[in-house]
Symmetry: C2
Subunit: 410 residues, 2 copies
């Protein structure tokens, strides 16, 4: 009735999901363990330690949320935000709007400012606004895949700490591809993604938070009904976190030594995440970021050599996503379709005001390698020629090869 | 630094997570596809069709939530429940309390009744209460793994439909192991689990809901900020669903023909779920339920032949979980520890008032096979003897073998 799974092999050059590391795919074949099996809790603890390492933090709390990246964002926001809390959100792309959306749903009084897409904020502008708005929480996106821009965070983090404001950062697109320095940048809570620079399938979201956040969570803590032992009073606080699934105060008791039953941990995804993190740490963070930067350079050189224009302010370019202005008169979706159907290669379009105006090419994790960069440049050139667009034929791949040869010569 | 994943092979006889079908483990090794790749959306559509089949429903809407089972429950409840809504929840174990917990967090005015654990409700009792309470929603657990009991639902479902009450059922423990007849029992929304009778890893929750629920969702619908195209007004309704991640009205646009971006679907878990469902349908629902019943019988005969007592009212026994009273004076946790450490086999304890009083043995999905039943009986007998408990030595495995031989003779 239903056939064997037999999918096409794609070259994945979107800003996620990207190609999964073969070792990660194999790790998922491991038979499962019970969630309180000492062998499994040891794996959970190792995973926590590796999440700390990639976030460059000494935080005690670092674990994955069992859901996709936005589940991690919602877990952090809904556990921190109480109805009426003032949350300040500077927006420079779609995922800033998502922060607003989630914070508002949990009752926040959101104050936002927005800058033109394709750009980011001067940190000083944000800091001045924080001083005016006096929020409890500032939430920002580190890397906006929707526009291909990256916001510098250090000065903002330092200002938040000084002003006793909680600083929440969506590092979904950047974690594992470029530096995310949670402690040095004074980030109170950060959320990463698996299906981007970690090259693990979508379905988990590593997060970390510090003792400032923990203190707030403990004030809101509630033990689940049905787990309360006889004779112990039920607790039911007015400040309780609205979601049960995303209640970080309960998740602390699940990931901490209490090992109190909550959900059933997603075993195979933990195996995948553990292996993906292990690969990141084996490669080394600095080496990994340098690799991403090299392939980004080759890709950008190739794109511009072809005669295409990069989109957005180059000074704040997100190193793992390259946004390209679709030449006037060209049907961007037709180009993407031909790339997929004839070259088995996927690049992305964008959202909202940028829909139909830019393409986005990711160079993330395992997808970020020479073979893929050369493939996407060659294929894009061929498809553009086929669409009658003016390109400098033969230049793109050569320009990228120049970058690679220069790097090897060093 | 961190070693290769090298886990012990366990015989998993808890009420979940259970051993994963080898074919499902292999399906997860498949390289991923982009979420809007036509190859992938075809897989999503097939998965929806198979979810319908296992829920025995014609509902249009049947898809997984990307999270563990309780994520499915929370998605359904938070999308339906509006602050102040009256929700009636008859409780007969831990997971009834979880329904209360989740409904209350989303602002429901919960009315609950509770029956002694180890039993279920007379449907007529529940129906009389519904008529008194006049709730908008009735939420019930189909199979309570915490006590090993199963609630008959048909009469309650019919009464709910007649009274125009929405009937929500947690079928996490039963889906794929015993009949869950969504349409015939007039269930408006049901939630299943993957890591139990479907033998797929934890991390997804198949759900289904009908047009009565859809109507309510459409009234609460809101398009996400950042996806609104220029010139189209933002919508921001007072009745909006509080969670973004669990917003079923947005998920309908993701799983439906609009394919509107929401989360990034958990690719490898979809591959796993698709393969698990395919195995269920290849085996056939009736054949699968009969297999579960056969192994349950062998297990029960073995347990009682050993001299142990089954816990709970046998008339409402959950066919896929067998609860056993821990003999007086015996340390149940020490028995479980020895089973794990010496026999590499896991059975479960229980929660709250039953903590330390019962063991629970699951016979679910791929774990529900002759080899495992005979193994758990032999190992349990040996461990009990080692603990100085009085057992009829040598009887348990023989009693189970009698059941299997009688079945073969038929």
């Amino acid at each position: 009735m239903y056939k064997d799974l037999n999918t096409s092999e794609r070259t994945q050059m979107t800003p996620g999901p990207v190609e999964v590391e073969p070792r990660v795919l194999r790790a998922m074949c491991t038979p499962i363990l019970g969630q309180f099996d000492p062998d499994f809790t040891a794996i959970m603890n190792e995973t926590m330690a590796m999440i700390r390492a990639v976030f460059q933090t000494e935080n005690r709390w670092a674990f994955p949320i069992d859901g996709t990246s936005r589940a991690g964002i919602e877990a952090v926001l809904c556990s921190i935000v109480e109805p009426g809390d003032k949350v300040f959100i500077p927006i420079y792309g779609r995922f800033g709007h998502l922060l607003v959306e989630i914070a508002e749903r949990y009752g926040a009084e959101v104050v936002s400012i927005e800058t033109e897409w394709g750009n980011v904020f001067e940190p000083e502008t944000v800091i001045q606004e924080i001083k005016k708005v006096k929020p409890k929480i500032v939430a920002m996106v580190h890397g906006e895949t929707s526009t291909g821009c990256m916001q510098p965070l250090k000065a903002i983090g330092e200002a938040c700490r000084e002003l006793d404001v909680l600083f929440v950062v969506d590092a979904v697109a950047t974690l594992g591809g470029t530096a995310v320095k949670v402690d040095e940048w004074k980030i109170d809570a950060a959320i990463g993604g698996t299906q981007k620079c970690l090259s693990v399938p979508s379905g988990m979201a590593p997060i970390t938070f510090n003792s400032r956040v923990e203190k707030l969570l403990l004030e809101r803590k509630k033990i689940e009904q049905g787990l309360v032992e006889p004779g112990k009073a039920k607790n039911n606080q007015s400040r309780m976190i609205r979601s049960n699934y995303f209640d970080l105060s309960q998740l602390m008791d699940y990931w901490g030594p209490a090992r109190l039953n909550h959900h059933t941990e997603a075993t195979s995804m933990i195996y995948a995440l553990r292996e993906g993190l292990r690969i990141v740490l084996e490669e080394g963070l600095e080496e990994r970021f340098a690799r991403h930067a090299l392939h980004e350079k080759a890709l950008m050189q190739g794109i511009t050599a072809m005669g295409l224009e990069l989109y957005g302010n180059p000074e704040c370019k997100l190193p793992v996503v390259t946004a390209i202005t679709i030449p006037a008169g060209l049907d961007g979706e037709s180009v993407r379709k031909m790339l997929l159907e004839d070259f088995y290669l996927e690049i992305a379009s964008s959202f909202g005001p940028l829909k139909g105006k830019i393409w986005r090419i990711g160079s993330m994790g395992y997808s970020c390698r020479q073979k893929n960069i050369l493939t996407v440049l060659g294929a894009l050139e061929a498809v553009l020629i086929r669409h009658g667009a003016k390109v400098y034929a033969g230049k793109a791949v050569q320009a990228a090869l120049d970058v690679y040869q220069a790097a090897k010569a060093k």
